[in-house]
């Protein structure tokens, strides 16, 4: 809480043009206020509301939000200030030296009652049929500060619903015009799609002519809306907040490691909400994180399957294990390979690796995207500046990445930094609307060599910047010359002062939640995924284990004995000989390492369907059957073994400082455009592909792309 208050005082929270808040200047003296008789010093640039909070006085509010600019239009935060003839809106009033504030006088009480009474004039009293019921600011504040009686006998205003697309449902009669959603859409999402048409009592929140919103962050307006005007369409009328069990966990839709809360009822995930983490996702999550959960119910593998006469038929675990035993008979370790997918937790991957090692296999590969990660140095595959570190940078060079699709939350952080900190962004790679101004340098990878040789204007930009950063995406690293690109960027980082005592501006942006963890576990094999698939085609790899691997062309595995372990019947099972049903991310506890190298712990929220089991238990049981019993009988024992190998995993939630070193492979970079790894934001993994909501978003995006002749 302390940290939050301190952070919220940063001027970065406010719109650069907001005149109501003074700029933070370290030289300025700290204003001293008296709040309810208590003297308190606050940081310069704080508002009266923040000062009150710090003094322990609760101030009700609707329009004010720490991470948005100040609107000051709901008037719920009125307090009394001595020598002021009328109450002041504390959220919009800069804290000044010598102010004497009262928050618990009869005048304040009356002011709050008055504001609420006015708000309720036009607000329908439809709480019993409102999805916000039970978690509604207006409901709560009316209970706490309202008069409890209504004196208004006239008709209420009614507003027509607005179409905003498949994710956000509107009941606009409930809107109290706080404009949080509008400010969010402009300031955080950067798409400026929402606005208020007409005025006064007739004011209505809408998108331009009711077109669907395009932002990948739009779901957050549901959380921001203090009333039930904007609610979740997929979750509509599904549950009441008080009947849900809440589990804190970590998201796996991208490598950000967004902190989430999984709300379940019985066995079913009802919705996913963000948790606040100032250094990771602040309090936002992407729409994929929020809405892909319906994919947890569809195309699930709920029992083992074994291929008989060319088709997969249901089997028992015993039969499935026996089939694997038979399939592996006579093979030696060099003929067995393992591939690891995008959504896996460390424990599962560790058990998988140990099992395969027990079988003598040496080729275990997790770089599904084909990116040329170099595991010899941890700094080579991390987002070293840290996500919050983006706010310290003054120049950012993107290389072969579209962060809007690959890590939406990171993109929001870049936008924030461009808006408040003057960050400038350049891009080498295909041009995309990233929601902030980008200087497009072309999409030719060879520009990197030019920069290194000092022949490109970007070299001067990097040189001139105080805290430059480069973000390399898997699009660049997955090229044939990916290792050379890695080396070139490494050299640029060293040459242009990206690496200093207290700053590391070298950043890699992995696209998958499991990537960094897998690299920490050393799950790389020479030749990568491509090599393994080629060898499978050539017949030298005779058995392959796929742990949630769905983003490869599995047809190469046609003649290879393939075991698929995963949660969904997606691309990976197509040529599988044995399918073992496993838990999805909400159904297992586990450690994840995000792109920054931050270790985070996810908790199990519900149980896997049918016969599906948590990954590690599958490998433990299978190891028994194969006669290579793994040395752990419990999850704790597994974790202990894992901690022993990777002690840094015990350091939960801290931002690591990876030691700098040499990495990559010196070599030529071929001229030619860089391709991006993600073509459809909404369809990047088996859970998202199983989700109807994501399918709808994807279809909508495609139809829009066709209509306007653009894509992406």
């Amino acid at each position: 809480m302390c940290i939050m208050v301190a952070r919220s005082r940063l001027p970065s929270k406010f719109d650069g043009e907001s005149p109501s808040v003074g700029r933070c200047n370290r030289e300025e003296p700290m204003p001293k206020l008296t709040i309810d008789g208590k003297e308190i010093e606050v940081a310069p640039g704080s508002t009266v509301l923040q000062a009150c909070e710090e003094a322990g006085a609760e101030i009700p509010r609707f329009c004010y939000h720490e991470r948005l600019s100040i609107a000051g239009n709901c008037r719920m935060c009125l307090v009394e200030m001595e020598r002021s003839p009328k109450p002041i809106a504390s959220c919009a009033m800069p804290a000044g030296d010598g102010m004497v504030i009262h928050t618990n006088t009869p005048q304040v009480k009356k002011a709050r009652e008055g504001v609420l009474e006015f708000l309720l004039i036009n607000h329908p009293l439809d709480c019993p049929i409102c999805d916000q019921g039970g978690e509604c600011d207006l409901q709560d504040e009316t209970m706490a500060y309202g008069r409890g009686k209504n004196r208004f006998d006239e008709n209420k205003r009614a507003v027509t619903e607005k179409n905003m697309g498949p994710l956000v449902k509107t009941i606009m009669t409930r809107c109290i015009h706080c404009t949080r959603c509008i400010r969010f859409s402009e300031e955080v999402a950067g798409t400026t799609e929402l606005g208020a048409i007409y005025r006064g009592e007739n004011m209505q929140i809408t998108t331009f002519l009711e077109q669907a919103m395009e932002s990948e962050l739009q779901g957050n307006v549901i959380d921001l809306c203090p009333v039930g005007a904007l609610t979740s369409k997929p979750y509509a009328f599904n549950a009441r907040p008080w009947e849900l069990a809440k589990t804190e966990s970590i998201d796996v839709m991208d490598a950000v490691g967004s902190n989430i809360r999984i709300d379940t009822r019985g066995r079913q995930v009802m919705r996913i909400l963000p948790r606040n983490h100032d250094d990771v996702n602040e309090e936002w999550i992407s729409d994929k994180t929020r809405f892909a959960y319906d994919g947890l119910l569809k195309s699930r593998l709920d029992r083992p399957y074994v291929k008989k006469d060319g088709t997969l038929v249901e089997a028992s675990w015993v039969e499935a294990f026996a089939a694997i035993n038979t399939g592996l008979a006579g093979l030696d370790g060099t003929q067995i390979a393992g591939l690891v997918g995008d959504l896996n937790e460390l424990e599962g991957m560790y058990a998988f690796r140990e099992l395969l090692k027990g079988l003598g296999a040496t080729r275990i590969e997790a770089r599904q995207s084909g990116a040329a990660y170099d595991v010899s140095n941890r700094a080579s595959y991390l987002f070293n500046s840290g996500i919050a570190g983006i706010e310290e940078a003054d120049f950012c060079l993107l290389v072969g990445t579209n962060p809007r699709h690959e890590a939406t939350i990171v993109n929001a952080r870049i936008l924030k930094s461009t808006r408040h900190r003057g960050l400038k962004v350049s891009n080498i790679g295909p041009a995309h609307d990233l929601t902030y101004p980008v200087e497009q340098a072309g999409d030719d990878a060879a520009i990197l060599a030019d920069i290194l040789a000092g022949k490109h204007s970007l070299a001067d930009r990097l040189q001139a910047a105080k805290r430059p950063m480069i973000i390399v995406g898997e699009g660049a690293l997955a090229r044939q010359d990916g290792a050379h690109i890695l080396k070139a960027v490494h050299d640029i980082a060293e040459t242009f002062g990206l690496i200093t005592e207290d700053w590391n501006g070298f950043n890699v942006l992995p696209t998958a939640a499991s990537r960094v963890g897998a690299l920490d576990l050393g799950l790389v094999a020479p030749g990568g995924v491509r090599g393994i698939l080629d060898d499978a085609k050539a017949g030298t790899v005779k058995a392959a284990f796929l742990l949630g691997v769905d983003e490869i062309d599995s047809s190469a595995l046609q003649d290879c004995f393939t075991v698929y372990i995963g949660s969904h019947g997606d691309h990976g099972v197509r040529h599988a000989d044995v399918v073992l049903p496993a838990a999805a991310y909400t159904e297992k506890s586990g450690l994840y390492i995000n792109m920054e190298g931050r270790v985070q712990m996810g908790e199990r929220a519900n149980f896997p369907p049918g016969d599906a089991r948590e990954d590690w238990t599958i490998f433990r049981a299978l190891s028994d059957v194969l006669g290579k019993t793994l040395p752990f009988d419990s999850f704790d024992a597994l974790r202990a073994a894992l901690y022993k190998e990777l002690p840094h995993l015990m350091d939960i939630d801290s931002l690591p400082k990876a030691a700098w070193g040499d990495f990559g492979e010196p070599g030529d970079i071929a001229r030619g455009p860089i391709a991006l790894p993600i073509h459809d934001f909404y369809q990047t993994n088996p859970i998202a592909r199983a989700s109807d909501t994501m399918a709808e978003c994807s279809a909508l995006k495609r139809s829009k792309g066709e209509a306007t002749g653009t894509h992406g």
Binding site: T160, E186, T192, E193, L194, G195, A196, I197, Y198, R199, Q204, T206, T207, F208, L209, E210
Partner: protein, 203 residues
């Protein structure tokens, strides 16, 4: 639901207006070009027979690099931007207290009798009637504004006569429809008469 009518064709500022557009945009300091949104909407409205089409809104958004929703926010906030086609003669009838006391109901009756309906355009597309608040000519109440001209000191008859003249394609004389100069007293000056007659004598 918000209705912004499409004009059916692309919108661009006419050649005559191009310079005007440049001049308007140039009024605002570098980086604040979006401030030009209001005068440009107005210019578009004048060019487009008194209403702003959806195409015009989109064009202005693009011209100023302002998100479309923000242009429409402005266009809907101000009642004087018309978002659907409006009759050739836009009759804005003042119904505020001074005009009402002086007989704006009669003026309204004349309009209704001529087939005008509040908030609607006539079928022949000639007239559009809106009731507005005080237009600042209360001294000559009741009054209407038709396009750019004020018609004051109206009665049932004079209103009808004006509308009929417009219908015939004539341009009735704007200003007071009574025997007076601007807002001077009816029938000539009532004070300083001596001075005036002295002046007249001198000449």
């Amino acid at each position: 639901m918000l209705e912004v009518t499409k004009s059916g064709g692309p919108f661009r500022f006419s050649d005559e207006n191009q310079d005007e557009v440049k001049a308007i945009i140039a009024k605002y300091p570098e980086g604040r070009q979006r401030s030009a949104v209001m005068p440009l909407l107005y210019l578009a409205q004048r060019q487009n027979e008194g209403w702003v089409s959806r195409e015009a809104i989109e064009h202005i958004a693009e011209l100023l690099s302002v998100p479309k929703i923000q242009v429409i926010e402005v266009a809907t906030f101000y009642t004087m931007y018309n978002l659907k086609p409006i009759g050739r003669h836009h009759v804005q009838l003042c119904g505020t207290t001074p005009c009402w006391l002086r007989g704006s109901d009669e003026v309204m009756r004349a309009c209704t009798d001529m087939g005008l309906e509040k908030g609607k355009s006539t079928e022949d597309g000639l007239f559009h009637l809106t009731e507005v608040e005080c237009l600042g000519a209360c001294c000559n109440a009741p009054m209407v504004q038709i396009n750019d001209d004020f018609y004051e000191d109206l009665t049932y008859e004079s209103t009808k006569a004006i509308l009929e003249a417009l219908k015939r394609g004539e341009t009735p004389k704007p200003g007071p429809q009574k025997d007076r100069q601007f807002s001077a007293p009816e029938g000539g000056p009532t004070v300083l008469r001596d001075m005036m007659s002295a002046d007249a004598a001198k000449e």
